[in-house]
């Protein structure tokens, strides 16, 4: 084996340790006895995670390349099973007795493997359109199952991974922008003026760029159709469905539900000021003002107990991990390892940004956990595996062809 990235490894270890501390701080005086022992379970998860980290550090990349589609089929079967036999309501977990297995977390890694392998295998193909359409189809099935759970956050992760890895692949920038245009398009449909501006700018760009003419015309017509259809679809939705989307985008529409959580979360973070109230000194968290404080809102506990300085430290550690991931991607020699590293970097960046953004009231409440810090076995497992994979790619830069 080659070199070992100690900085990445120890950053992750410190994050895990901080996570355990914060979970203890959030739950040690909970009125529910079962909550008081959550930190012990998190310790177990981290130890199991460490074992996984070392296993994936040692497993050759070639193996993941070889069985990427097998991973895909297995996870798709599990998701389909959950869809068919999961019963009513939220169907996100598979009960293994000792552990609530959350397949959508593992699906994130599988998606990275599958996109990476697909983009590498089809690198030399000229028909870029068909190539990307097939890739989209590949992502669509797990995406639909996940959205149905419902787990909008993970669904968004899939889309972000897809675009990020397309960007890291050999795809040309104008084509990338065309692929991204439907999403920008829908965002701009909030008002017809903004949409018209977008459409004019986009059309000019596509026509002036060196995209083949039929592709350009197709992209313009497609966006036109989407822009016309989007408001129509919106009106087709039932009142309560529209409401759910609006509340998602603007939590203050639901002042007694999500809106209150966000308000409490902001108070919790803000009350920490520069130095925090000290470990176990949080009043807001201990008063159980904040629901799911040990999972999705763990960052608020950090803000309250360790203040702005504590947050800077943790965000600094995250930056080191994310920087390492992209650096490893840059330095990787093989395409597959590069895509995997870039995908993992994107995953980390996206989840940190979305989770912290949610806690400080900047972004919608999606329920995406904070890597390494949030309570949860599946989440800890995939991020420890991710670290193992990054360490592996780092130490075997030229090994995979």
């Amino acid at each position: 084996m080659g070199r070992f990235d100690y900085i990445l490894f120890f950053s992750v270890l410190i994050l895990c340790a901080i996570g355990i501390m914060l979970i203890y701080g959030a739950t040690y005086n909970s009125k529910y006895p079962w909550e008081k022992n959550l930190y012990k379970r998190q310790i177990t998860y981290c130890i199991v995670g460490l074992v996984l980290l070392f296993i994936f550090w040692r497993l050759p990349m070639r193996l993941h390349y070889a069985v990427a589609y097998l991973y895909y089929i297995v996870i798709l079967l599990i998701l389909a099973g959950l869809f068919l036999f999961g019963g009513e309501g939220v169907k996100r977990w598979v009960d293994l007795g000792f552990f609530q297995f959350q397949p959508s977390e593992f699906a994130k890694l599988v998606i990275i493997f599958v996109i990476s392998r697909y983009l590498m295998d089809t690198r030399t193909e000229t028909s870029s359109f068909l190539r990307i359409a097939l890739l989209g189809l590949l992502i669509l099935f797990p995406f639909l199952f996940i959205i149905n759970q419902p787990d909008l956050g993970t669904g968004m992760v899939f889309i972000v991974l897809l675009y990020s890895l397309l960007f890291w692949s050999d795809i040309k920038f104008p084509l990338f922008l065309i692929l991204l245009s439907p999403i920008i398009n829908v965002v701009f449909t909030v008002h017809w003026v903004s949409w018209a501006l977008f459409f004019i700018a986009f059309s000019l760009f596509v026509l002036l760029s060196r995209v083949r003419f039929p592709v350009a015309i197709g992209a313009i017509l497609g966006n036109l159709a989407l822009g016309v259809a989007a408001p129509f679809f919106w009106r087709q939705l039932k009142d309560y469905q529209q409401e759910r989307i609006l509340v998602f985008l603007d939590p203050s529409r639901d002042p007694f539900g999500v809106g209150y959580q966000v308000l409490q979360s902001k108070i919790t973070v803000g009350s920490g000021k520069m130095f925090g109230k000290g470990f176990l000194g949080g009043t807001q968290t201990n008063l159980a003002f904040l629901p799911v404080r040990h999972t999705d809102f763990i960052f608020a506990v950090l803000g309250e107990e360790f203040g702005f300085l504590g947050i800077l430290l943790v965000l600094g550690l995250y930056f080191i991990v994310i920087y390492s991931a992209f650096r490893i991607a840059r330095d990787a020699k093989g395409h597959f390892p590069r895509f995997v590293a870039a995908g993992l970097g994107t995953l980390l960046l996206f989840q940190v940004a979305v989770n912290v953004g949610m806690v400080v009231g900047l972004l919608p409440v999606t329920g995406l956990p904070l890597p390494f810090l949030s309570f949860g076995g599946s989440s800890v497992a995939i991020f420890m595996i991710s670290t193992g994979l990054l360490l592996n790619i780092h130490s075997n830069k030229g090994e995979f062809v």
Binding site: S164, D239, Y240, S271
Partner: protein
């Protein structure tokens, strides 16, 4: 690769920078404020209840309004459900402590949503709560607009009422966003249009000391103003409805429908017995409940849409039209056997309602006198299958599609029905004789009759009955409800004209059974019916419309146990007379 790496690192730095900027603002710039909130003060969110949309009649007359009322609620965050606190609240609102603790437990939505304990509390109680707030930690009052029905029982089945959501309703409507303790529509348009009428609650944020003392509005939280619900304009005409109810004042059980045959708009709809909508504004006493859920009278039951009745002779309109359409007769045809008071079919004797017999009649006179023997012979010639097929094409046996649930379908028996029920050889061909005069297993709703009569009046269009004319949301994007033609009657224009000629004779000839419906100056067309009822006195029907040349109004009258159809005709005549006078003589 270096370029792509740079793009991602730049993006990461940007994202982290924005997050840190935000956190800096929360922790350093506004840190003291948030610290105070977390330390001993807190933010209390109060609901600003949205006023429910008003309901008007077709001309904008107010049928339903709101009155401000006070609701005593507890805030789960601040209210400790100790024995002592529960007792204090119980004494305050004068309710048993058990029901207080039950509400606190079962109605909790989350930690922040106020739990309504008692609605419409008197003002003095609110004053007391305001003055002695320290004695009642976590107990607040909310201002909540509540329904007021100025006309009490007028159009009660159409309007419906509101009330606190029940457990089964909550299960059904949870995904629509309803929560325990919410006020929801329970019946009529209040229920059907609940999601449009209810509007959207706002919120105000108060900073409160730990002891419950209010400091003032929270600093950086803007109040969210409530948005009123959409206003509804019904097709009901207040004057016509009130007049219909006064015509029906003496009726114990029955139905009166007035419909515009060109649009399907319901102008008046009375179902008796009825009830006062305002009785639901206070907790309903068990005695009142008993009366409301009486199994014999069912006041809550809307007989217009939910009542299944044998149509009796009113169905002769359709039976006659089928015979004319099938060219079995023309309007001057006689039948082989004149009416001698009965007719034999197989080994069974079928009686005419007039036992001494009508003698020989053509179709028009058979309609006028409602001669059963004439129509028995039509039924034999039409046959069961043809008859049920036409009935199906007139959309009997299915819902009319009115936007008032629940709706009954009525029932049209078919060959398969009799085979299933009695076995292929267990029933005689004679059933058609009963069916074609509207007796036997056939059932219709009064509204179905109104729709079919409207179709005869308007040249064959089977309309969807309309109860809501217009919906006006607060943002002003008015929704007009269009006239919907569901289907065409399966009859030629000449056939319908012949049937109408018969209907005119019902009301306007000396031999007619519906003479009592005649009014001076305007030609009324109609048909009476007397439904045999094994459990009591006969049901009396009258269906008709006026004026014949330019139909403006269709009227359906049903008197449960009302005796003969001519009584129903008299009620319809009284209604039509006053309708066309439009209060010119000073009466309703």
């Amino acid at each position: 690769m270096q370029r792509k790496f740079k793009v991602f690192i730049f993006a990461s730095i940007l994202i982290f920078f924005l997050l840190i900027l935000r956190i800096f603002s929360l922790q350093i710039i506004k840190g003291d404020y948030y610290f105070r909130l977390s330390d001993n003060n807190r933010i209390r969110v109060l609901r600003l209840h949205a006023p429910r949309g008003l309901i008007h009649d077709r001309n904008g007359e107010l049928l339903v309004e709101n009155e401000p009322s006070y609701t005593v609620s507890v805030l789960p965050f601040e209210f400790e459900p100790t024995q002592e606190n529960i007792l204090a609240v119980a004494r305050l609102v004068d309710m048993p402590p058990e029901s207080i603790s039950a509400k606190v437990e079962t109605r909790k939505v989350n930690d922040y949503t106020p739990i309504p304990i008692k609605r419409r509390v008197p003002l003095r109680l609110v004053h007391r709560l305001g003055e002695q707030s320290a004695d009642f930690p976590g107990v607040v009052y909310e201002v909540e607009p509540m329904r007021l029905y100025p006309y009490n029982e007028l159009a009660c089945h159409i309007i419906g009422y509101t009330g606190e959501i029940s457990a089964p309703e909550l299960r059904e409507m949870y995904k629509l966003g309803r929560r325990a303790g919410d006020i929801v529509g329970k019946q009529g348009v209040e229920k059907i249009y609940d999601s449009k009428l209810r509007g959207r609650d706002g919120a105000s944020y108060l900073e409160v000391r730990a002891n419950g003392e209010v400091i003032g509005p929270a600093r950086d939280k803007q109040e969210i103003p409530p948005i009123a619900g959409a206003e509804l304009f019904l097709t009901i005409d207040l004057w016509t409805q009130a007049m219909a109810e006064s015509v029906f004042a003496w009726v114990e059980k029955g139905v009166l429908i007035a419909m515009d045959p060109t649009t399907g708009e319901i102008l008046a709809s009375v179902s008796k017995p009825n009830f006062d909508l305002n009785i639901f504004s206070a907790p309903v006493s068990s005695g009142t409940w008993e009366k409301l859920s009486d199994r014999k009278t069912h006041p809550m039951f809307n007989r217009v849409t939910q009542g299944n009745y044998p149509p009796a002779s009113t169905i002769k309109l359709v039976t006659g039209a089928i015979a004319l359409q099938e060219r079995i007769i023309n309007k001057h045809s006689f039948q082989e056997q004149p009416c001698t008071g009965s007719i034999w079919y197989g080994d069974r004797e079928f009686f005419c309602w007039l036992r001494r017999g009508h003698g020989a009649l053509d179709f028009l006179d058979a309609m006028a006198t409602s001669c059963d023997v004439y129509f028995y012979q039509l039924g034999m010639k039409i046959g069961l299958d043809t008859w049920t097929d036409y009935m199906r094409r007139c959309h009997f046996g299915e819902k009319t599609g009115i936007e008032l649930a629940p709706e009954a379908t009525g029932f049209i028996p078919t060959r398969n029905f009799y085979n299933d029920r009695f076995g292929p050889r267990g029933w005689g061909r004679g059933v058609i004789l009963n069916l074609c005069i509207g007796q036997g297993e056939i059932l219709v709703t009064p509204l179905q009759m109104a729709i079919v009569v409207s179709a005869f009046a308007n040249g064959g269009k089977l309309l969807k009955p309309k109860i809501v004319k217009r919906l006006v949301p607060p943002d002003g994007a008015t929704v007009e409800f269009p006239t919907v033609v569901r289907d065409e009657l399966p009859f030629d224009r000449e056939v319908m004209e012949d049937v109408i000629e018969g209907m005119v004779r019902v009301v306007n000839s000396d031999i007619g059974t519906g003479k009592a419906a005649a009014i001076p100056g305007i030609t009324v067309a109609g048909k009476t019916g007397t439904a045999q009822n094994p459990t009591g006195e006969n049901h009396a029907w009258f269906v008709g419309f006026a004026p014949v040349d330019d139909p403006k109004i269709v009227v359906v009258v049903l008197l449960e146990h009302g005796g003969s159809g001519s009584l129903a005709a008299w009620v319809a005549g009284e209604f039509l007379r006053r309708y066309f006078l439009k209060g010119a003589d000073g009466t309703l």
